[in-house]
């Protein structure tokens, strides 16, 4: 039987999605359901003086109106940060309470203060307009860089500072800098982004008064984790009385990791009114209240020798958390950021210092790449600048500082098990025709255009993560994953996974893996996910962990099935279990060549007897049935890496940046399905290029979101991109049996510095901030013209 792993198996989910048969949360309608509308703060910072619902209650169709007071009276818990970060001085981070409905203070535009539940959506909306809230508007803090000088947002949190964290050794870094021939320094802003999943958030909550069970259908990347948080911290219901279902989910990118206010409020309220409640975000609510991403202000320095050896690295960053610290809000700018900030280089001394600040803006949390795009942007912009200042070719300079051997013990945290960064660089250069660039630049010049080329070599730490390691760093949970593989008596297989697919094609790739492990045709394998009532448990999908963690749990469960199969076969064929081999779905006794198919074994496991004989195929100690579970805890992160090269052409008259070529050469270890990986790379690149050239979330000084719709927030479209030139090198991960590494975030991590390096190259080294919009680039072109004229 040919192996399915490695082949372009058509996506099992496509039929459903392409024929409109997907079932998303908003498609779910329950009998007798009501509709919720949230009354949200129009102010970025205010105290609530009075909230009057009398008029609204009289509005037609209103079933109930609940406010922060009722939720506090019922002792429903608030939203939480999932990682406890400690400051350099040893103090614990400071987090404000974040009630699901604000009672006394609101802290960003969109912060909910009440929920209106009515018989119809129109009636809920009508009534919501009649809720009267008397706010005392306070001065908002909105700027990341100045947040520490603003008014105190949360009582008791001085300077709006959540923590002041250090990773690395300042003294060693100082010594390294003292020895340097040259110090390259850079000031950069990692622009704030809004995730914009295609499907807006939604939830439908139901309550069964007889079983006292709440069922919540919600747009989540991790239903089990949501249940745990809602139960343990939200106090919504004990875990066994709370079922969370995340059906088809139309994109997450990190924005659907969190338990949100609406999840808690609708679940709690459904029990209160003993009816189902449906809430679907409007796009404008998504803009305002989904978590946002990035938003760093960074000063970084690189100490180098004159021949280009890196000696030391400093990184001083202010990270905006928004109004509250959420699930991955505090780890994203620390342990997901700092360890990767030294990039793919041997740098003997390094530190990263992060001050995380609160502002009156939407909470900032993990968004595709989470911390690693910010890290890669910092180091790769610095290295490119170093190459300009040292006059060393940008690819040579990188190669010079690549690690020479693997495992590569990084300066700060990670030990990278495998990789070949030089091979990636060489292949990327070939794919991009790096050598031919100068000729292309001249051609552009002849047309009056400016052409630039940019390079990024990245690695990232994903496949999160060993539980003991992350819990030692403050994580509130372990980050293993579980799988359950269940044979039916008639030979088909159901695989339950705790990973969640919201665009990652698990239904296909996971089935490919199970098909190879079990020798069962892929059509006979179903992947089930997204329901806390099905399967064992799950930590969910983020941090490119589905395959490297969830996929391995499936492999391990399959291996347990095979082990049992060997024992059963041995018993049935009267052989020694050690003499039974398993290949392509058959158990073969090596000495006699007698065999049983896995289907026969499954059948025997469920029907363990024969007519007229007292005889069981099951060896002593084995129970009937064929079902195995694995909880897999990885031994390390996984470390995809690669080199990306971009080429841009700029029209100096309009400042328009045209991305002419984009080459991505990635090492994802073993690839299960190349077509799916291409999709992941394309999507990641689109988001990364979007960050570099188009996307930007902008608040004004009063805290109003200026980019609250697609009229002003530039979502990139297909015509903004060239055909992507994609290739791979492959070194297998040594820390998992499949040899796989994550691929979901790489594009979003590598693309921003790659594109910006190209833009800045075209602009003669002038710094521009992301996104490189026409006006910024136009201004830089004018400066370039002036300085060229002076030089001439």
């Amino acid at each position: 039987m040919a192996s399915l792993v490695g082949s372009r198996v058509e996506r099992k989910e496509d039929k459903r999605f392409l024929t409109g048969k997907g079932r998303y949360t908003a498609d779910i309608n329950l009998a007798n359901q009501t509709y919720a509308i949230f009354v949200r703060s129009p102010h970025a910072r205010a105290s609530i003086k009075k909230l009057n619902i009398d008029k609204a209650l009289k509005s037609s169709g209103v079933v109930s109106i609940l406010t922060g007071k009722e939720i506090a009276d019922d002792k429903i818990g608030g939203l939480i940060a999932g990682w406890a970060i400690r400051s350099e001085d040893g103090t614990e981070m400071k987090c404000p309470g974040n009630p699901p409905l604000a009672k006394d203070n609101v802290n960003f535009v969109g912060d909910p203060v009440a929920v209106v539940i009515a018989e119809s959506l129109a009636e809920a909306k009508e009534a919501a307009e009649k809720v009267e809230v008397d706010y005392k508007v306070l001065k908002a803090v909105t700027s990341t860089a100045d947040a520490m000088n603003g008014d105190t947002i949360h009582e008791g949190i001085d300077k709006n500072l959540c923590f002041d964290w250090l990773l690395g050794d300042r003294q060693k870094v100082k010594e390294a800098f003292d020895k340097a021939d040259k110090v390259i320094s850079i000031d950069i802003i990692n622009n704030r982004l809004i995730p914009n999943a295609m499907e807006p958030r939604a939830c439908v909550a139901d309550y069964n008064a007889a079983s006292e069970e709440i069922t919540l259908y919600t747009t989540s990347q991790n239903p089990h984790l949501s249940r745990l948080i809602m139960s343990a911290f939200g106090n919504v219901a004990p875990e066994h009385k709370l079922r969370v279902v995340a059906p088809d989910v139309g994109g997450g990118f990190g924005s659907k990791i969190n338990v949100y206010n609406e999840d808690i409020v609708c679940s709690w309220a459904a029990k209160k009114i003993s009816r189902a409640i449906k809430w679907v975000a409007e796009r404008s609510e998504s803009f305002l209240t989904d978590i946002h991403g990035r938003d760093h202000v960074t000063h970084a320095e690189l100490a180098v020798t004159k021949d280009g050896k890196f000696l030391g690295f400093k990184n001083e960053t202010i990270a905006n958390l928004g109004a509250y610290a959420r699930v991955f809000g505090t780890v994203t700018p620390t342990y997901l950021f700092g360890p990767c900030a030294t990039g793919v280089y041997e740098i003997p001394a390094a530190y990263t210092n992060v001050k995380a600040v609160y502002t009156n803006t939407a909470p900032v949390d993990a968004y595709r790449g989470a911390g690693r795009p910010e890290a890669t942007y910092t180091i790769e912009r610095l290295v490119e600048k170093a190459s300009m200042e040292l006059g060393i070719d940008k690819t040579e300079l990188r190669i010079k500082n690549f690690p020479t051997a693997f495992p590569f013990k990084q300066t700060l945290v990670h030990t990278v098990d495998s990789g070949d960064y030089v091979a990636g660089m060489e292949k990327a250069k070939q794919m991009a025709d790096y050598k031919g660039f100068e000729a292309r630049r001249k051609e552009s010049e002849a047309k009056g255009k400016l052409r630039g080329i940019g390079v990024t070599s990245y690695f990232e730490a994903c496949g999160i993560a060993p539980s003991a390691a992350v819990m030692s760093l403050g994580c509130g949970v372990g980050l293993w994953e579980s799988a359950e593989v269940r044979f039916n008596p008639t030979g088909q297989v159901t695989v339950y996974t705790g990973s969640h697919s919201h665009g990652q094609s698990h239904q296909t790739t996971f089935a490919q893996i199970a098909a190879d492990e079990l020798g069962v045709p892929i059509e006979n394998i179903d992947i089930v996910h997204g329901d806390t009532d099905k399967g064992t448990f799950g930590m969910g999908t983020y941090g490119s962990r589905s395959l490297a963690v969830g996929g391995i749990a499936i492999v391990n469960a399959c291996k347990k099935i095979v082990e049992k199969g060997k024992r059963v076969t041995a018993k049935m064929l009267e052989a020694n279990p050690e003499d039974v081999e398993f290949k392509d779905g058959e158990f073969i006794v090596s000495k006699s060549n007698k065999k049983k198919t896995i289907g026969e074994v499954a059948f025997a496991c469920y029907l363990p007897g024969v007519r007229d004989e007292m005889k069981s195929p099951l060896p002593e100690g084995d129970e009937p049935g064929l079902k195995e579970t694995s909880f897999y805890d990885p031994s390390n992160f996984s470390f995809p890496a690669g080199t990306h090269i971009a080429e841009v052409e700029i029209d100096p008259e309009t400042g328009h940046v045209k991305l002419e070529k984009y080459t991505a050469c990635d090492d994802f270890g073993r690839i299960i399905n190349p077509m799916v990986v291409e999709g992941q790379v394309h999507g990641g690149l689109a988001q990364g290029i979007g960050q570099a050239l188009y996307e930007n979330a902008e608040y004004d000084e009063t805290g109003q979101l200026m980019t609250g719709s697609y009229m002003d927030y530039t979502m990139p479209r297909a015509d903004n991109f060239p055909e992507f030139n994609i290739g791979y090198t492959c070194t297998h991960a040594t820390t998992n049996p499949l040899g796989v590494k994550g691929c979901g975030e790489a594009g979003a991590i590598a693309a921003p510095p790659t594109v910006m390096n190209a833009v800045i190259d075209a602009l003669g080294g002038q710094e521009v901030t992301m996104p490189a919009t026409a006006e910024k680039v136009w201004k830089a072109c004018k400066n370039l013209k002036k300085s060229n004229a002076k030089a001439a």
């Binding site: 404008s284 400042g655 200026m706 002003d712 530039t714």
Partner: protein
């Protein structure tokens, strides 16, 4: 969205009779419906004009192209007649919004709305258009009054727009990267005798840039406007472009348009 009455008018007369101070005509609905949905506008009555036969269709004569007010953007961009008579007009229509918008939005709606960054108003100015309403004919130069403001009276219905066929013309838009409306759009049309340089997106309302028109009427070459330093004091500033950038773009786009003619 608040409740409203929906009417489908069978002819212009009925449509204008139904109109009141709290009504809107419903053509493509691409402006009206989003603004109602967002609560920016409320109407008691929506008067659908799409079923009025007379308002749709394209007619070309020797000197002009006449387009019915309820003609959709996609129909203008696909029309072989328009492509032949005034190719720049068809490419303007092709560059409006996205396929969904082009499949619904209409030329009459666009002009009646007079968004300061809309594309069609510049075509009307550059191509010396005449706006035919159910009551009168209005010259384009007198039609666009200010931001979202036109010469239309309450209940007055645009029936068709008549464009003069130029010798040469081109429309060059620098789109807002998010909405794809014009940050600046410049429509250059060379007629016998004179040149119009209609600018949209730059100021509160579309206008004919006299300085560039004059220069180009003298010498129809982009070199005659190259480096021109336009007064930016009345130009728009927003998060996508400052007045200074817009002033520069107006000249750049005008040059591109002349070169493309």
């Amino acid at each position: 969205m608040k409740d409203f009455n929906y009417h489908s008018a069978k002819d212009s007369k009925e449509a204008s009779k139904l109109a009141s101070s709290s009504s809107a005509f419903l053509a493509g609905g691409m402006t009206t419906i989003p603004s109602m949905k967002l609560g920016l506008a409320t109407y008691k009555d929506l008067i659908d004009i799409k079923n009025i036969k007379k308002l749709s269709g394209i007619k070309v004569s020797g000197r002009s192209v006449t387009i019915g007010a309820a003609t959709k953007h996609v129909e203008v961009s696909n029309s072989k007649d328009v492509k032949k008579a005034i190719p720049s007009l068809s490419s303007l229509a092709e560059g409006i919004g996205d396929p969904q918008v082009r499949n619904r939005g209409t030329i009459g709606g666009s002009i009646a709305n007079n968004d300061p960054s809309a594309d069609y108003p510049s075509a009307c100015i550059a191509l010396n258009a005449t706006i035919h309403t159910n009551e009168r004919k209005i010259e384009a130069a007198k039609f666009f009054k200010g931001m979202f403001e036109t010469a239309l009276k309450k209940g007055e219905l645009i029936e068709a727009i008549e464009f003069q066929i130029p010798e040469k013309s081109s429309y060059q838009k620098h789109p807002n990267p998010a909405s794809r409306y014009a940050i600046v759009g410049v429509y250059v049309a060379k007629h016998k005798g004179d040149v119009n340089v209609a600018v949209t997106g730059a100021k509160s309302c579309v206008y004919n840039d006299k300085e560039m028109s004059k220069a180009l009427s003298g010498n129809f070459s982009s070199s005659s406007i190259d480096g021109m330093d336009l007064d930016s004091s009345e130009m728009n500033t927003d998060m996508h472009a400052s007045a200074e950038f817009r002033a520069s773009l107006v000249v750049t786009q005008a040059k591109k348009a002349v070169d493309a003619c």
